[in-house]
Symmetry: none
Subunit: 414 residues, 2 copies
């Protein structure tokens, strides 16, 4: 197994002033290549910390991918420290100088002495061209290990990784094969899911690992298989994945990167059905999820958010006697809301939410976190009562996810 | 200087399947407390890697903050490894068990044996209550160093950090006196703002530092003052903050933690004005921002999302001749939308959005990223044309922020 460590250099990341998006991207790319990331490390702009990090990483990994600390300013230490670490001097690299000069000429910008100095490289490295920036990459080899230093600017790093570094790493190392599959579930908590699939999980072979990835309103499962042949691993993972269906199939809504709102969109499009929404306590978040999917206008026609009592009556048209007798947060009202929005917007399906998102608005009978949701089509109206949390943002998110799951469960079979 | 290391545990982060947003948030919070983050480390779900990381971190830092690996499932190793590392056994913690039981009871959910096991804690740790989740935090002390293990779920970790861990760290370690002030601006880009305040920035004394914190649709400024006396620092920062008003006061909408949607809410409440929304391309996100503020029902009455052409005409009531002549994304249509929703919902103010969020739906005259927004009250109707990006999510966010800023600029003086 080829091991990699990602080393990020920069005070701005330690202090939280910028978010490190590079390392996640690099992880995904290396993972696809069959290189195992064993550690991520971030250190600040201090020479001794950086040198220590070099030493530690060299002991742990075969490949050390370094980003940051390559700019022209004096707080950028990566280059001189790599020269020191590998025991060679810095000298002007004529080809790098020509590339940097051409870079500035092509943009009609003047080159400063600081920019010129970016072409001074450790004599013991191989220069890796930076086609869209001024700081070249540096490739070092020693004892069959590779140190690769890249700029921290995301688009420069990504281009250099994709076009130069990954191919060079594949050439040098015999990379093994890894295959992942993400299985997406909704409507069941992590521990209940774990109970249901415990026997299956225990019977997984040692080269296939399972991970639970829970987030608000859903739980993803990740199967990771290690081996020599990608088709064989894919086949094997498919088989194990299929064995889950009798155990937890009711909760599985999809695979891979597709979130529930996109899965619902696909189901609606396949069935040629249209959707409208009357959302009160979720306040627009449910519609936002639905409309975050490109192309949603194929099936989503519109929403009414009747936040105020008067709007529920006058604009949406909930009967005053229903509202007065049962209140806005009640089963009779939610049934009205879903049926009325479906009729008014002339859609196949109407869904609705009404609840106490909190922190205010509760009564002894209707506590914070109480939410009614409903689904309506021409055959049926389905309601569900939820008791969520004390937290407004969580209630909004969880109620919206519950409606998406209610749609999934209630739609006619394709 | 008190040093901290952030240790994140989980294969899903090494493989890039989830983005670690926790460590940036923690960096910011620790920085505000005067604790210096010296390293961030991520390791996978392997026992030996985790134990090595504990050892290394203990050598480098005074405080080791650990997230992840605390779920009820078998791939979560943090708890048994901490017990091993600190040389004590796991035992049922009765108070933790009572808290977890109460957590499930309050939600009317059944508790499994796996959930029960979350109350088994190392006997050498202090339990830190998790008020919104099931995995308790664990505080270990040895040789004047602290290991603190927290759940990886962001909202659970944040609540635990803010309410329990930071106060406990302040108590244990003598942290220096630091005072921060956040100044929130909207409607101006980072580099334009920097130009406007350049002279002011240069004249700041060395013990007051300025940071730019740009995010989608706004730029926050953070002033950080270091010293011995908190009242003196507060006074000094106030003086510097006031000097900004003549330079950039038009863009400053507030201070501290209050986002623009809460600032708008305050302005509406103070003026006793009500708001309704007709949002098309923003698809519910604008309403979601407004309704994420507790108590918004004091001023927000409701929204229509007329996503489809027919809904714009039949439900909202935009005149067919206006739609046919100018199209849905046009100034005449946006004026109609804002005026009509204000009249229909019987509010003081109506706002509207219509645009091409992308990636589809563009024409040669109406490219992706073109958005019209409008504000209407009984005195005036104000419109604005935006040309945003190629990215759907960014366009939805930026257009919504632009409407909030348009409300701020257009409301009558209090």
């Amino acid at each position: 197994m080829i091991k990699a460590e990602l080393l990020t250099i920069g005070d701005e990341i330690l202090y939280g002033q910028i978010v490190d998006t590079n390392s996640q991207w690099m992880s995904v790319e290396l993972d696809k290549t069959g290189i195992k990331v064993v550690r991520k490390t971030t250190v600040g702009d201090q020479a001794n910390e950086i040198l220590t990090a070099f030493e530690e990483a060299e002991q742990r990994a075969d490949i050390i991918l370094i980003t940051g600390g390559l700019g022209p300013t004096s707080d950028d230490l990566t280059k001189p420290l790599l020269a020191k670490y590998f025991g060679c001097g810095l000298g002007m690299h004529e080809e790098a100088l020509a590339e940097i000069t051409a870079f500035f000429e092509s943009r009609g910008r003047e080159m400063t002495e600081l920019n010129r100095q970016q072409a001074a490289l450790p004599s013991c490295c191989t220069k890796i061209t930076n086609p869209i920036g001024t700081a070249p990459g540096m490739w070092f080899e020693r004892n069959n290990k590779v140190f690769m230093s890249m700029p921290g600017v995301p688009h420069e790093m990504k281009k250099m990784m994709t076009e130069r570094v990954i191919p060079k790493l594949k050439e040098k190392f015999k990379t093994p094969v890894i295959h992942h599959k993400i299985i997406r579930t909704i409507g069941i908590g992590e521990s209940f899911l774990a109970d249901k699939i415990a026997v299956w999980e225990k019977s997984l072979p040692p080269h296939i690992k399972l991970a639970y990835l829970p987030s608000l309103g859903e739980v993803k499962l990740r199967l990771t298989a290690f081996g020599n042949s990608l088709p064989a691993l894919q086949h094997e993972v498919e088989e194990w994945s299929e064995k889950l269906l009798p155990l937890a199939g009711d909760y599985i809504y999809g695979y891979g990167d597709e979130p529930i709102e996109a899965a619902i969109g696909k189901m609606l499009r396949e069935r040629k059905l249209t959707l409208s929404i009357a959302e009160s306590c979720t306040g627009g978040y449910l519609s936002h999820l639905i409309t975050s999917v490109p192309g949603c206008s194929d099936y989503f026609l519109g929403t009414m958010i009747p936040y105020a009592y008067e709007v529920k009556m006058r604009q949406l048209g909930v009967k005053p006697e229903v509202l007065e007798k049962h209140g806005a947060v009640s089963e009779p009202t939610i049934v009205e809301m879903a049926n009325i929005v479906r009729a008014k917007f002339n859609t196949d399906i109407g869904v609705a939410t009404s609840g106490i998102a909190g922190p205010g608005g509760a009564t002894p009978e209707k506590p914070v976190g109480l939410v009614w949701i409903a689904y309506s089509d021409k055959h049926q109206t389905v309601t569900k009562k939820l008791q969520l949390s004390q937290d407004r943002a969580i209630n909004i998110r969880m109620a919206s996810m519950a409606v998406l799951n209610l749609i999934r469960m209630s739609l006619p079979k394709a």
